[in-house]
């Protein structure tokens, strides 16, 4: 178990280092001269050299890289070119919106995906199974931004035309405005983020559960006279959980992408929206900050998932 955790931690560190080299290299070899941008077009060669020196741009690449890492580790990700605010503060302000979106989205998709998969697996080939499979197929094919716009149209615009407001048009209401307001603003984004993944989880749960339900110990459980419900949920689903959690781990990276899209559709002022604005405005420190923090989040989540995996499945722990 300890070995598993250590290997995973080392791998996580490697991912982060690779990501930081990628980001650093990307902006280092990028066209454009920061000194020229700061000094203006009329700056003399001497002034440019001075600016380069004060920014440390005349040091060798590896020195610059190590300094960049050192700063990042101390929580100093630089300042936005535009608002002059600290990147960390800027991102910090946006985290509640993104965290609410992502966590709620995960809950919604598990709550849809797993029951649909279980229902399908309990009676394979039935009408219910075919309905579940149809849901899976459509869900897998639905680009999330199309879904989001359709939901906005049907559940916001059409009711509003009938003078009847179901959901707000978008935006984020912090928890301080009350949990009802917060949830009302997030219901549509949650479903937008969740549907595609719910389909993946429904398919995964169905497949895994079908395999498990054919095992001997399930027959034993049935032979003992346990209710079918208990057989499926207690004995069957338990061993499909490992597969679901593995999938959850590999989906964390995708989740951030989904958050960017959903925030764009619903005008949620989260980290993803910040990144998009930064790209349009060429605000490099902000982009670097978002990529690095996003990467850290993914790595940490993956390590947690791996440890959970070990705790849930003794076979992994002992191996």
């Amino acid at each position: 178990m300890i070995r598993l955790v250590v290997t995973r931690l080392v791998f996580g560190a490697v991912v982060l280092i690779a990501l930081s080299i990628f980001v650093f290299g990307l902006f280092f070899i990028a066209p454009g001269d920061p000194a020229r941008a700061l000094g203006g077009d009329e700056a003399s060669a001497q002034l440019l050299a001075q600016i380069r020196h004060s920014l440390g741009l005349d040091d060798p690449i590896y020195v610059q890289y190590l300094r960049f890492i050192d700063n990042a580790l101390h929580g100093n990700l630089g300042f936005s070119y535009h608002s002059q605010e600290s990147v960390l503060t800027l991102i910090g302000e946006r985290i509640p919106a993104t965290a609410s979106l992502v966590l709620g989205g995960v809950v919604v998709w598990l709550l849809i995906g797993i029951p649909v998969g279980v229902a399908s697996a309990r009676s394979p080939g039935s009408a219910r199974d075919r309905l579940g499979q149809g849901f899976t197929l459509v869900g897998l094919s639905f680009p999330s931004f199309v879904l989001g716009m359709l939901m906005l149209f049907v559940l916001y615009f059409l009711p509003r035309q009938a003078n009847f407001t179901l959901f707000p048009a978008g935006g984020y209401a912090p928890l301080s405005e009350g949990i009802g307001q917060w949830a009302r603003h997030l219901v549509l984004p949650w479903f937008t983020l969740a549907l595609v993944n719910a389909a993946i989880y429904a398919r995964l749960t169905r497949g895994q559960l079908l395999d498990v339900l054919g095992e001997d110990y399930i027959r034993t459980a049935r032979a003992k006279g346990i209710s079918e419900r208990r057989v499926v949920y207690k004995h069957g689903l338990r061993s499909t959980l490992t597969a679901i959690i593995t999938q959850l781990g590999s989906d964390v990276a995708m989740l951030l992408g989904g958050a960017i899209i959903t925030e764009q559709v619903f005008n949620l002022q989260g980290v993803g929206a910040l990144a998009i604005t930064a790209v349009t405005a060429q605000d490099r420190p902000v982009i670097i900050g978002v990529v690095l923090l996003g990467g850290t989040f993914v790595v940490v989540a993956n390590v947690i998932v791996d440890i959970l995996y070990g705790l849930l499945d003794p076979r992994i722990r002992l191996a």
């Binding site: 791998f11 490697v14 991912v15 690779a18 990501l19 990628f22 980001v23 990307l26 902006f27 990028a30 066209p31 394979p124 080939g125 197929l137 459509v138 897998l140 094919s141 639905f142 680009p143 931004f145 199309v146 716009m149 359709l150 149209f153 615009f157 048009a169 079908l210 339900l213 054919g214 027959r219 049935r222 590999s250 990276a253 995708m254 951030l256 992408g257 960017i260 899209i261 764009q264 559709v265 990144a275 998009i276 930064a278 790209v279 349009t280 060429q282 490099r284 982009i287 670097i288 978002v290 990529v291 996003g294 990467g295 993914v298 790595v299 993956n302």
Partner: protein, 331 residues
Amino acid sequence: MSDALAVDPAEAEIGTRRVKQRGSGELTIRRLLRDRAALGAFGFVLLLIIFALCAPLVAAATGHGMAQQFRDTGLTSAGIPRGPGHTFLLGTDSLGRDVLVRLAYGARVSLLVGVVASLVAAAIGVTIGTIAGYFGGWADLLLSRVIDLVMSVPFLLCALALVSVRGPSLTLSICVIIFFSWTHIGRVVRSQVLSLRQREFVEAARSLGSGPVSIIVRDVLPNLTVPIVVYTTMMIPSSIVFEATLSFLGLGIVPPAASWGGMLSEALNGSLYMVAWWMVIFPGGILLLTTLAFNILGDGLRDALDPKARRVGFVRLTRRRSSRSARKAAA
């Protein structure tokens, strides 16, 4: 046989009916033809390809260029896009451009990106997966770690960073999609090669003096045709959605070139789609239908090429049914 003929003519007819030998290709096609959903999907994809190829014809027939703006005829006096009608069959967008013509040109982008990115990604994935699976040891360890690494990177964020530096373009979109899509098929191929490598026929080839390249090309890869074909087909819809997403976020195709994702983003801009539903329904609908069609086609191909995968479910079905009825009988 002649006895049977005397006893029961019907049975005899079955007995004397000629057994026709069918190759696996013919069997696959027969299975596909029986799958109505897959046939429909295939038909849709064919229509889409024709639609994309005929984009200049569509433009010529309507007399509207792809990026041509009709601010006087295409917009109402209030500057709002016109709905579907005689001159503009599927309506116009915020700049008075013909939605139908732009859909056709967008189909070119989507299909091009989907097919090219999937083929290249599949080639990379198969190569790396084969090397990792066949040679094992250090090569496997290294390549598997690389796959893990690419899979655990938040790809949309990296695409964002890349685009902000290089500027959006079609080539960059395709490269980004390829870079983040080859891993899945790579993993599948690796594990398949790993088990094929142990098989007797590979050992036989090796003892006959075949080198690794010859074994991989002549013995291993032909046995992986089915997963490679199926996974490549399944990669097309995700590449198409990936491209549409990039364009939707303004990181893909550069306007005024048309792409479905870009059209949807224009519709979202200023909540224009609230008054102009056709700006969402048509690009959104065609995008959804396209991904749906490729997904159904992929499922159908898998069922047709690998009937074993399907039969497993049916065996389970009967087993479960019988155990249930047995319980009922006992009770």
